[in-house]
């Protein structure tokens, strides 16, 4: 007891300096600290600073359907190019079936399908294979290949979301993948969650298709539409149009999009195609002067202008009742590109900044009052000396927790504040265990010094057992909890370590100093 190893003193001193330095940015305004000063402030959770949390699920079933439909179109395309007649072209399971009408063409058809199945130059191994059964051919995607592709689609979706949100100018959004097909988006601050949701949730597929003028409106209304065309609704009040299914050019061919103004000075979206897009659009508009084409976003017609002259420059403008906000949202969509698969919002939590401020206020005042009451109680219960020692230990403990939370940038949530208060209250348990054990040992007839020694060594085992159980509970919360609960678990975990550290080491050092200085015969708590 009299002797405390020098390394322990050094460790406590270092920890205290660390605690004070890294807590400081939370207590004083940032500008009153010199620029070289270390450390960041506490990282407040969305429930405290306000903001939106969105849990999105990539619709992998839809991705799968779309992928197989594309494959079907690809097969149709190569067989048509080879002029091979087919029947019964259809998607079945995870592949495409086709029957070749002329047995003599089967070999050629098989070679053609092989070219579809061949991996792209940069695409690694093939995940498709062609099987032949008489005149029946099948091009199948392997399940592993499909799974890998849909997993890739989730990553691609994250990139698209990132681009879209960045162009919205949201402050420090975090976008994370969660599990196989989920994405978590967290946007702190006072952003409009509905706009965010709208921007993220849209597929964002822009296509240019010809309007089918052969269909009269009353025919369209009666549902009599030719097989090569489709009736699409108009976006925000535009009239529905029957358009040809064939896509002239799509958003993948855009190289630039920006907000502009039309001749009436209302907001519009300027765009430019890449080389291939410009050529295709130029050819289409040359052939169709006088007709109308439709600009379609996610199966809704934005506008359907007439082609007055061939457009070969590769640039154009989309007009159609935009506001400044909706124009810049469309630009964000176009810049990000289309999502590879639809996203569904499965969970949304939005807290207004004002409400967050109320929560911070309630948390702050609870923490301060609870902390002071516990300190006062310890002094009342154990006196200035022993109570005071646990007060010092507890203050260092509190600073260490705040410093550790700031340094690790762990998220402090509202339940986390509850965890902090509870940790500080229960941290004195270690002190109480030690002190009570000392009292018992004195009563059992030991000298002050022997009692202090025994108090420490006996209580130690109990303290460790008791704290390991808390740690276990926290780990489980971390594993199974989400957002705010994880914040709580993290606060609790940090608290367990700092509590054991301060209650044992700080208490030990201070008691040893007191003992060496005064050589007491009795302890003041007995």
């Amino acid at each position: 007891m009299l002797h405390v190893a020098r390394w322990k003193i050094l460790l406590v001193a270092l920890a205290t300096v660390f605690a004070v330095l890294f807590t400081l940015p939370n207590l004083v305004p940032a500008r009153s600290l010199p620029g070289w000063f270390p450390g960041q402030r506490l990282n407040l959770g969305l429930d405290l600073q306000g903001g939106s949390y969105l849990l999105l699920e990539v619709d992998t079933a839809a991705y799968r359907r779309a992928r197989l439909t594309n494959l079907l179109e690809e097969v149709r395309g190569v067989l048509r190019d080879e002029q091979i007649a087919t029947t019964g072209l259809a998607v079945r399971g995870s592949g495409v079936d086709v029957r070749i009408t002329d047995p003599g063409q089967v070999d050629r058809a098989q070679r053609a399908l092989q070219t579809v199945a061949r991996p792209l130059a940069n695409g690694g191994g093939s995940n498709m294979n062609v099987t032949t059964d008489g005149q029946q051919l099948r091009l199948a995607l392997s399940e592993a290949g499909l799974a890998a592709e849909s997993s890739e689609a989730v990553n691609a979706a994250i990139e698209v979301i990132r681009l879209r949100i960045d162009s919205l100018g949201t402050r420090e959004p975090t976008i994370l993948r969660q599990g196989a097909n989920r994405i978590v988006v967290q946007a702190p601050g006072e952003s409009d969650p509905e706009r965010l949701k709208n921007l993220i949730g849209r597929t964002g597929r822009l296509t240019f298709q010809m309007v089918d003028d052969t269909v009269r409106p009353e025919e369209a209304a009666a549902g009599r539409i030719p097989p090569g065309s489709v009736l699409l609704q108009g976006a925000n009040g535009a009239t529905p149009e029957v358009v040809r299914r064939r896509v002239l050019v799509d958003g993948a061919n855009l190289v630039r999009a920006s907000v502009g103004y039309d001749q009436n000075n209302s907001p519009a979206v300027d765009f430019r195609f890449d080389g291939a897009g410009a050529r295709r659009f130029g050819a289409a508009t040359t052939q169709n002067v006088g007709k109308r084409f439709a600009i379609i976003l996610d199966e809704e017609v934005i506008s359907a202008p007439s082609i007055n002259e061939p457009i070969t420059t590769g640039s154009g403008q989309i007009t159609g009742g935009f506001t400044a906000e909706s124009a810049s949202d469309l630009v964000a969509l176009l810049r990000g590109g289309a999502l590879p698969a639809p996203l569904n919002v499965e969970e949304q939590r939005t807290v207004g900044a004002e409400l967050g401020q109320d929560a911070i206020e309630a948390g702050r005042i609870s923490t301060i009052v609870a902390f002071v009451s516990v300190l006062a109680f310890m002094v009342l219960a154990y006196g200035f000396l022993f109570g005071g020692i646990s007060v010092i230990a507890l203050v260092i403990n509190g600073l260490l927790i705040v410093a550790a939370m700031s340094v690790t940038q762990a998220t402090l949530t509202l339940p986390g504040i509850a965890g902090l208060i509870l940790t500080l209250a229960v941290a004195v348990d270690a002190n109480v265990l030690i002190y009570e054990r000392m009292r018992e040992e004195v009563r059992a007839g030991r000298s002050a010094m022997a009692a202090m020694d025994a108090g420490f060594s006996r209580a130690m085992v109990t303290i460790l057992d008791a704290n390991i159980t808390t740690l276990a509970a926290a780990l489980i919360m971390f594993q199974f909890g989400s957002g705010p609960v994880r914040g709580f678990a993290w606060t609790l975990t940090i608290g367990v370590f700092t509590s054991v550290f301060t209650a044992v080491l700080v208490t030990q050092i201070l008691l040893a100093w007191w003992f060496r200085a005064t050589r007491p015969k009795t302890l003041p708590i007995v």
Binding site: V369, S373, V426, R439, A472, F480, V485, V526
Partner: protein, 330 residues
């Protein structure tokens, strides 16, 4: 009054705990049965008698403010009914210009899109409205949160059993786990009877109660083990009484600091739902956890009987030589 106050705690208490434990056992069993009943009845999936929040039930919570104008609660209800939402609850909340709304989206509709429509309509009917909180939990997610919550609770208890088994032997482990089930079930009962909203934070509170109750049980069991080694001839019942008495002052002091801090949190966190629910549950948990360490965990040892060999392993704590020295001291 002399100071420090700790001097007023009697040096040595001689309360009988094992005797009244019979009565306590009857009370505990009745309380557990009642809690289970109120938690599970009426048998509405998934939460039974608990007042589940959207976390586990799925659905939408909106908090809105039309300050400085008062909210027309009737208009809010009418609007949502007209939109076809199910189970619409509208209540005043805080000031007259604030309202708390819960509803469930019609089956087959994406709830996040449904809330977009609801917001649009509400703004049209109420005029400028500030939505201070929006929580939407889809059915898939709420099901997962529910399963994860149940798994977490059982896993926590299982982990505690393993740890106590490893440190103290199986009998102690069983005693501790019976006490944990007692605490968890009674806390569920508290939520069911008081109709406090049961959310993710409540699960965190339950896990913390498990941690605290275990902490408390460990302190008592630690002392029982020590005394078993120290007094080889003493009857188990007397050893339990002695151990509980010896640790009583610690139990009181730690319990008081815990209750003090949580009481403060309950008072100052009144307006903030999560903070209040958490502190109320924890206050209950500390009381019940302390009770169960004394009146459940320890008596279970008596019921099962402790083989003295079980606690003889000198691997941890006091060695045989130290124990001897303790016995031989004047």
């Amino acid at each position: 009054m002399a100071w420090p106050l700790i001097k007023h705690l009697p040096d040595k208490t001689n309360f009988r705990f094992v005797g009244p434990a019979r009565i306590a056992a009857v009370l505990s069993v009745l309380a557990v049965i009642a809690s289970l009943f109120f938690t599970l009845y009426p048998p509405r999936p998934p939460c039974g008698g608990l007042n589940c929040g959207v976390d586990f039930k799925g659905g939408t919570v909106l908090e809105l403010s039309t300050a400085p104008r008062p909210v027309d609660l009737g208009a809010v209800r009418g609007t949502l009914d007209r939109l076809g939402f199910g189970d619409v609850q509208v209540q005043a909340f805080g000031s007259p210009s604030e309202a708390l709304i819960r509803f469930e989206s019609p089956a087959g509709q994406n709830p996040a899109q449904a809330v977009t429509r609801a917001r649009g309509e509400l703004v049209r009917v109420l005029g400028p409205t500030n939505f201070t909180r929006v929580e939407v939990v889809g059915p898939k997610v709420s099901g997962e949160l529910f399963r994860n919550g149940v798994t977490a609770l059982f896993l926590a208890i299982a982990l505690m059993l393993l740890y106590i088994w490893f440190r103290f032997g199986l009998t102690f482990g069983v005693g501790a786990v019976v006490a944990l089930f007692h605490d968890v079930i009674l806390t569920f009962g508290l939520f069911a009877v008081t109709n406090l909203e049961f959310t993710l934070t409540s699960v965190a509170a339950l896990l913390t109660i498990i941690g605290y109750s275990m902490n408390d049980t460990v302190v008592v069991l630690d002392r029982v083990r020590e005394n078993l080694r120290k007094y080889k001839k003493m009857k188990l019942a007397d050893i339990i009484d002695l151990s509980v008495n010896e640790t009583l002052s610690r139990t009181v002091v730690t319990g008081v600091t815990g209750l003090l801090a949580l009481g403060v949190m309950a008072v100052f966190g009144r307006g903030v739902g999560e903070l209040f629910t958490f502190s109320v549950a924890m206050i209950f948990g500390i009381i019940i956890g302390t009770y169960s360490s004394i009146f459940v965990a320890a008596p279970v040892l008596l019921l099962l009987g402790v083989r003295r060999g079980e606690v003889e392993t000198p691997a941890q704590g006091v060695t045989r030589a130290q124990a001897k020295a303790v016995l031989e001291r004047p």
